[in-house]
């Protein structure tokens, strides 16, 4: 089916495209090219002098153990966040799919967290787990665990993973639910007649049929954990303690705007840009071929 509108003039199509192109230019192309340009410069903190240093910034980065640490930490954070939010969302979606009464209410509640801004979500979790006044900290103390994400790096990492996953569960839930509802009921019934119990039906029929959705969400979640979690980290831990939660996107900020290493920060954002482009290309190339059944 071909839907092609033919415009008689030259201006109407240009005008229609203009808003999108303008937004892309101003908010992506321009900053991105600035970052590219700055990443090959060495600049003083006040912007009074700058020097062209070729790829020195990148060379320094990859020799810096702190940066490499942050890479590993980000990989850990992203994979655990993606796994947790995907797993949780899948469980919720499977249950929501079986709910008969009050479906709309149940779904609405599950979708709400997505509407919460990352920083607000961060503050929410910050208060719940606050070492001195947090309600959940209080409960944990009863269970014999002294929670303190100001001092304990593991606690801090656990907390941002929890907050980041919680926010993404809604999004994943929506897609999983839609995916589940697209599976013909008769397939599940046929499997039931074929002697597969509920768990086996899920493992051998439902989950494989959901795999395109799962793959799509996996990529989206990794991208989310890599780039969209700045607000959460900033609000809860500010990258601490002792850099324990300084993931790449936070490091770009702290090195650039706090450490005032503009060139190094720009080089980091160029690397992040490369990562997201690679993920996107990967998704577009494989989503319809590799996972299709």
């Amino acid at each position: 089916m071909e839907k092609r509108v033919v415009f008689s003039g030259r201006w109407v199509p240009v005008l229609l495209l203009a808003p999108q192109v303008t937004i892309t230019l101003v908010f992506f192309i321009w900053p991105a090219s600035q970052a590219l340009y700055q990443s090959v410069l060495l600049e003083d903190a006040f912007g009074l002098s700058r020097k062209f240093v070729w790829l020195d910034n990148f060379r320094i980065l990859f020799a810096d153990p702190l940066y490499l640490d942050s890479f590993g930490r980000t990989a850990f954070f992203s994979s655990v966040t993606a796994a947790l939010s995907l797993g949780l969302a899948l469980v919720l979606a499977v249950m929501a799919d079986r709910v008969i009464k009050g479906t709309a209410l149940y779904r609405t509640f599950l979708i709400w967290p997505y509407a919460v801004a990352p920083a607000v979500a961060g503050v929410l979790w910050f208060f719940m787990f606050n070492p001195s006044i947090g309600t959940l900290t209080y409960l944990l103390r009863f269970l014999g665990y002294q929670w303190n994400h100001y001092l304990n790096g593991t606690d801090a990492m656990a907390l941002i993973i929890l907050a980041a996953s919680w926010k993404q569960v809604s999004y994943n839930f929506l897609f999983f639910l839609a995916g589940l509802q697209a599976i013909p009921r008769s397939l599940v019934e046929a499997a039931a007649i074929d002697g597969a119990g509920p768990f086996k039906r899920f493992r051998t029929i439902i989950f494989p049929l959901l795999s395109p959705t799962t793959f799509f969400l996996l990529v989206v979640n990794i991208v989310y954990a890599f780039f969209d979690t700045f607000g959460i980290v900033h609000a809860i831990t500010s990258g601490g303690p002792a850099q324990a939660t300084t993931i790449l996107v936070y490091k770009v900020y702290s090195d650039g705007f706090i450490g005032l290493d503009l060139g190094g920060s720009a080089a980091q954002s160029v690397i992040l840009m490369a990562v997201v482009i690679a993920l996107t290309v990967f998704q577009f190339r494989y989503i319809e071929r590799k996972v299709a059944y």
Binding site: L187, E189, A190, A192, I193, D194, A196, I205
Partner: protein, 361 residues
Amino acid sequence: MAGLTFSGVRKTYPNGVRAVHGIDASVGDGELIVIVGPSGCGKSTLLRMVAGLEAISEGEIRIGERRVNELEPADRNIAMVFQNYALYPHMSVFDNMAYGLRNRRTPRNEIARRVAAAAKTLQLEDLLARRPGQLSGGQRQRVAMGRAIVREPDVFLFDEPLSNLDARLRVQMRLEIRRLQQSLGTTSLYVTHDQVEAMTLADRLIVMNGGVAEQIGRPLDVYRHPATAFVAGFIGSPAMNFLPATVAATGSGVIISGTGHTLTAAVTACEPQRPVLVGLRPEHLLPASEDSAALKVAVDLVEALGADTLAHGILPGDGAGPALTVRLEGSRRVDVGDTVPLTVSPDHVHLFDPGNGNRLV
């Protein structure tokens, strides 16, 4: 192998909708029973209750001697062919057929043997490695059949299995299903809304309407002696003509209302002047000479099908008169505007109560 018994089976959905209002029937061992009826008559619900996909609200279903009301679908030893085939799209044809056997921990070589045998019967041998998405409609249908027969179940359930096929393939698959069922001798329940399918496949028919079994019987018995006006109109194509009439005072026949036509019929059991509904099958109306004609139809539409010609018209009288369809031989030439004189044997005049639709005598 086992028979199937329904006693007082009812289905009421949680929202209060009553889909099936008490079915009593028994299916003999190896018999193929077709449940036929218009959409929404409860026929699929009945089938799904046998499969265990719908709970039985009241009554009892037995497969052989076992009461199956409380059994899971898996434990009923049935196999079902779905309207959309319900093949597992991510599995090969072989795996589709083997799935049920694997779930029952059948030994590997036994699975291979049974699948190979089913594939041979259904001419699927070359397709075992393919995915359902790479098959044509007829081939998918065969795989669905194969998946049912490898299980060697007590009962086959068919839920409108041919309705997604084109007309030619449907006729061919209909014959294949019948042949296969006869050679396997498996008790089968087959749901369809297509009365031709029902007539050709069935050992016995259950004609359903509004959640009730209107008639249960052999296809030709149902055709010859429909129990209700609904059954009479549903079975047979083109559909039976219905004409309002009253029993003649002389007690020798009926007078078609508003036209003055009189038909000879066996009305001894009816009191004179009683209003009745006369049912005449289009194929039982025979052309006659002008003076021996019982009915004269004014033709207003002709469908020439080759083998036969369907003439649609009205019985002239005061006002528009009742509509009538006649099936004539294909060689006979009829034009719009013609008046065709017709006669009908008294044996072929069906009488129904105009109130409840029940057959009179």
